[in-house]
């Protein structure tokens, strides 16, 4: 029997960057197919091709053996393909029922929307999923798990034959993951093909019949689940052994640089306490939405907090004051460099010197000389590949942009460096450079606090791993005892604080 959906030789480039090269994938009826790969391996591009958002440059899609051309999300839906994105895409102002049926509402007389039927069918879908959600409430304020259930109900509502789930479990608790699994199995038993994308091997192995690996936009392998091991998969994903990737050198741990005591911000996190010493790299791990970014933003003074205190080198920081935080020696490299880390339209040089514009100015004027010299020094030190330092920073690649953000803050000579997802979306080589740099900084006596969702990075780089779950610090695991299991258990709220 022909596969339900078959991708043959699919390639897709964005500008000069090849996101997918000659990728093959076949999905069978009544199968859950796992898709794994590092960030940047091309998984999300593949998802967007299946969703009809991107058209492949080369290659074909075939549904039931006949060629399928998708010219937009509507035609993907018409072909019976439903995509559940990592971050659900709902309309916050519309009701849950409308979210499910938008564009396909049941119609009554004069083609007007039959709200009664829409509500009844929504209740019916929720009953099938075994969930309690009010069809009339707006989508605004739903938890991520509930939003995903709405997306799944949407897929059920048009009897999708192919359901793509893009890292659906990354923000879910244990019970919610179990519920999602049973939904996926129900879909499979009804004859649908499910493409399940996840970073968690235990989930992939528990759920999937076959597993496909992508690396750097290429298809690497497809195997029956019982024919591969986690180690084999990891090796294929990274293309090398993990241990060589993380150049963590042992550093002597010195005095306490950053102390956080009982930090609380209602609705985001509560009673978070930790200490970071000079020479130490501490990872802050946890699931998306656990409150990690919120904590470091509050420490840096971007957001206010309701209780607790932050001390740098024993001195208390005034809350909500980033200027004081910078002069005390704190630096924050934010998660979203395009939105928060850089001024995209401004030159590389200006971006590099932005936090030091006062110290570089003479009589209050920023004259080009000092600024450009300093920018050149730091660009060289971090090996930023830029045509000219006067070009807008938006012309650089993602990895080089990240280096600019890092250089910008390193140039303030911070005593405490907080980095949020420092290697998200940058290529493997630059990743290694960033890791080397963090390691070097720690060796020079800087205290580094690294928020990361990539478990290999956390385990490879950190001297200690702090794990957050739903706004609380669950565990403080030293390097020797930190492994995938202990971190994941704490991150899903099952481990005990140790």
């Amino acid at each position: 029997m022909a596969p339900l959906l078959e991708l043959t030789g699919v390639s897709k480039s964005f500008g000069a960057v090849a996101a997918l090269r000659d990728v093959h994938l076949d999905l069978h009826r009544a199968e859950i197919h796992g898709l794994v790969g590092e960030n940047g391996a091309g998984k999300s591009t593949l998802v967007k091709i299946l969703a009809g958002v991107h058209a492949p440059d080369q290659g074909t899609l075939a549904l039931d053996g006949s060629e399928l051309v998708l010219n937009g999300p509507a035609s993907a839906r018409a072909a019976g393909i439903a995509v559940i994105y990592q971050e659900p895409t709902l309309f916050p102002d519309l009701s849950v029922a409308e979210n499910i049926f938008i564009g396909r509402q049941p119609l009554g007389v004069l083609r007007r929307i039959d709200t009664g039927a829409m509500r009844a069918r929504t209740r019916d879908l929720f009953a099938r999923l075994g969930v309690q959600l009010d069809p009339d409430r707006p989508a605004r304020g739903l938890s991520i798990a509930d939003q995903q259930l709405v997306e799944i109900a949407k897929a059920l509502s048009f009897d999708a034959r192919i359901v793509v789930m893009d890292e659906p479990t990354s923000a879910l608790s244990g019970a919610e993951v179990e519920r999602l699994f049973s939904v996926a199995r129900t879909l499979r038993d009804a004859g649908a093909a499910v493409l399940f994308i996840s970073h968690r091997f235990d989930e992939i192995f528990a759920l999937c019949q076959r597993i496909t690996v992508l690396r750097d936009g290429r298809w690497i392998s497809t195997d029956q689940t019982d024919a591969v091991t986690i180690e084999q998969l990891v090796r294929r994903m990274v293309g090398r052994d993990i241990s060589s990737m993380y150049p963590k050198t042992d550093a002597t741990v010195g005095k306490a640089r950053l102390e956080v005591r009982g930090l609380t911000r209602h609705g985001s996190f509560s009673d978070v306490s930790f200490t970071i010493h000079s020479g130490e790299i501490v990872a802050l791990a946890g699931l998306v939405g656990a409150g990690r970014t919120e904590v470091i933003r509050a420490v840096f003074g971007v957001d206010r907090f309701d209780a607790g205190e932050v001390l740098v080198d024993g001195r208390r920081l005034p809350p909500g004051d980033t200027t004081a935080a910078i002069s005390a020696g704190l630096a924050l490299v934010p998660e979203d460099r395009r939105e928060q880390g850089l001024v995209m339209e401004v030159s590389v040089a200006r971006n590099l010197t932005l936090p030091r514009r006062w110290s570089l100015s003479r009589l209050g004027l920023l004259l080009g000389g000092a600024e450009n010299r300093s920018a050149r020094t730091w660009a060289d030190r971090l090996r930023v590949k830029a045509g000219r330092l006067t070009n807008p920073v938006s012309t650089l690649s993602g990895g080089n942009q990240q280096k600019v953000v890092l250089a910008k803050w390193l140039s303030t000579r911070p005593g405490v460096l907080m980095v949020d997802e420092p290697t998200r979306g940058i290529d493997v080589a630059t990743k290694a450079e960033v890791h080397g740099l963090l390691s070097q900084l720690a060796a020079d006596g800087v205290a580094v606090l690294m928020v990361s969702s990539e478990l290999p990075e956390v385990l490879g780089m950190a001297d200690r791993v702090l794990v957050m779950h739903e706004g609380r610090l669950m565990a403080d695991i030293p390097r020797a005892r930190a492994d995938e299991e202990s971190v994941m258990l704490a991150a899903t709220g099952q481990g005990n604080a140790s």
Binding site: L94, I113, R137, S182, T186
Partner: protein, 351 residues
């Protein structure tokens, strides 16, 4: 797919579901009810000071004054819920008004429906220019319609060339339409506004393409992913807004009789004020044409009530401004409260 498969089924809790519906309904009601109450309060206080404020003539003037603003506000709402804005409506009104006068000068015996249709089509054409630039060229609506505000007005100026068209140039029947009332206090023109309001209101809530506009305003990228033809819907919204501005232009000509190139100058800000005061979220996704229409009536009422109350007419603009700020403040407070309730409700379910 079997319903009874291994999914964990929790006992049904219908009480909560109705509680949710109640919260939502209340938030909706409060949004429109708040402004209706403000209007009622204003009328009652003004009438207490001067009972003649409620005379048939005074009510007729009030409704007549609200009509054109309300029609523009309905068109603007359709654009604003899709997270766009149409600043060119005042210029389109001016252009359509002058075109009406010119049509009558050229052929005084044209039937009124033909003139109405001509105004609507001219407005729709202007709206199509806006819509094409916003939807196809993907230029922000604020910039596009700011540009066409000047372009349409410029065309109007060069066409009029300083000329003025007087009531004497227009047929008596047309002018009568602009000034007579039926049932004593309801002006004939207001019926146009009522029809426009009801048709637009039903369209936005009953029809799939109307709901699409709310979806687009609520989350544009999700609307694209959901397969909604975003460009086509936004284009249509601008065409409708333009067409209604064209209709308003013809009604303006009928009401005032004297026309030059300045008709409707600066109207766009009053229209947006009416829409915002009427509870339409300026970043799209929520609000109703009914609210916007009441907003138009409220703004007009303030204009005629403040002199009666002995308030210096110079303060009128400040009062309108204060009202806008109050409306936005109320909106923020309401949505914050709604968000809090929705959160705690979910927490309750999870516990």
């Amino acid at each position: 797919m079997a319903a009874q498969t291994a999914l964990r089924t929790e006992p049904a809790t219908p009480a909560r579901s109705t509680a949710g519906a109640r919260i939502v309904r209340r938030a909706f009601v409060v949004r429109e009810l708040g402004i209706v109450l403000a209007l009622a309060l204003l009328v009652v206080v003004t009438a207490a000071v001067n009972p003649r404020f409620l005379s048939a003539q005074s009510i007729k003037d009030l409704l007549l004054g609200s009509t054109i603003l309300a029609i523009l506000a309905v068109g603007q709402t359709i654009v604003v819920v899709s997270r766009n804005v149409d600043l060119s409506v005042g210029s389109v009104l001016g252009l359509a008004a002058f075109a009406t006068g010119s049509l009558f000068v050229a052929s005084p015996n044209l039937p009124i429906p033909v003139v109405l249709l001509a105004g609507v089509l001219l407005g729709a054409a202007c709206g199509a220019v806006n819509g094409a630039l916003v939807a196809a060229a993907r230029v922000p609506a604020l910039v596009v319609t700011l540009g066409t505000l000047y372009v349409f007005r410029g065309i109007d100026y060069s066409w009029a060339g300083g000329r003025q068209i007087n009531a004497a140039n227009m047929p008596a029947g047309f002018l009568r339409m602009g000034s007579t009332a039926i049932l004593g206090a309801v002006p004939y023109l207001a019926l146009f506004a009522v029809v426009v309001l009801v048709v637009a209101g039903l369209y936005l809530s009953w029809y799939s393409s109307g709901r699409d506009l709310y979806a687009i305003g609520s989350n544009p990228s999700a609307a694209h992913l959901a397969g909604i033809p975003v460009g086509r819907r936004v284009f249509a919204a601008f065409v409708v807004s333009g067409a209604l501005a064209g209709l308003a232009g013809v009604l303006h000509a009928a009401r005032f009789g004297t026309l030059d190139a300045n008709a409707g100058l600066g109207n766009e800000l009053d229209v947006i004020a009416a829409v915002v005061v009427g509870g339409v979220a300026i970043f799209g996704g929520s609000g109703s044409v009914y609210g916007a229409a009441v907003g138009a009536v409220l703004l007009t009422t303030i204009g005629s009530a403040l002199p009666v109350l002995g308030v210096d007419p110079f303060w009128q603009r400040a009062a309108v401004g204060a009202l806008i700020l109050a409306a936005i403040g109320l909106d923020r407070a309401l949505s914050a409260r709604l968000a809090r309730r929705l959160r705690t409700r979910r927490g309750g379910r999870r516990a």
